[in-house]
Symmetry: C2
Subunit: 80 residues, 2 copies
Amino acid sequence: MIKARIVVTLKNGVLDPQGKAIEGALSNLGFSGVGGVRQGKVFDVVLDGDDKAGAKERLSQMCEKLLANTVIENYSVEIA
Amino acid sequence: MIKARIVVTLKNGVLDPQGKAIEGALSNLGFSGVGGVRQGKVFDVVLDGDDKAGAKERLSQMCEKLLANTVIENYSVEIA
């Protein structure tokens, strides 16, 4: 069994209105000195088998096909 | 300037229909051997200043007050 974490974040330069809203909300709550917030997604995936190199390859394909929009998002795959 | 990453995940035992849907979609796309998917959120926060210990404390407060629903979610704070 392989546990992996995939993190999908917006590419630099892509507007993130959700992050901006969070920044405003933090400021309204009294948190000062926040220079920026960007929101992304995380997927914790459990795979059968023990082939870590193969798993990384499969997880990258999952990102390309489903989990990330590679036009505007980057992804990183981390095997635990 | 301090860069931090906050990861918010559902606690064990909390149902994750979105993760289940992703699992089904992966299976439909031909990815076999997926044992489970749980979706979470990630926040990349930039803070002013250089006090890493203080920043970690402030980021935890942000999670408690806004970023995470601590009834059903765990959070982790990581300073880059």
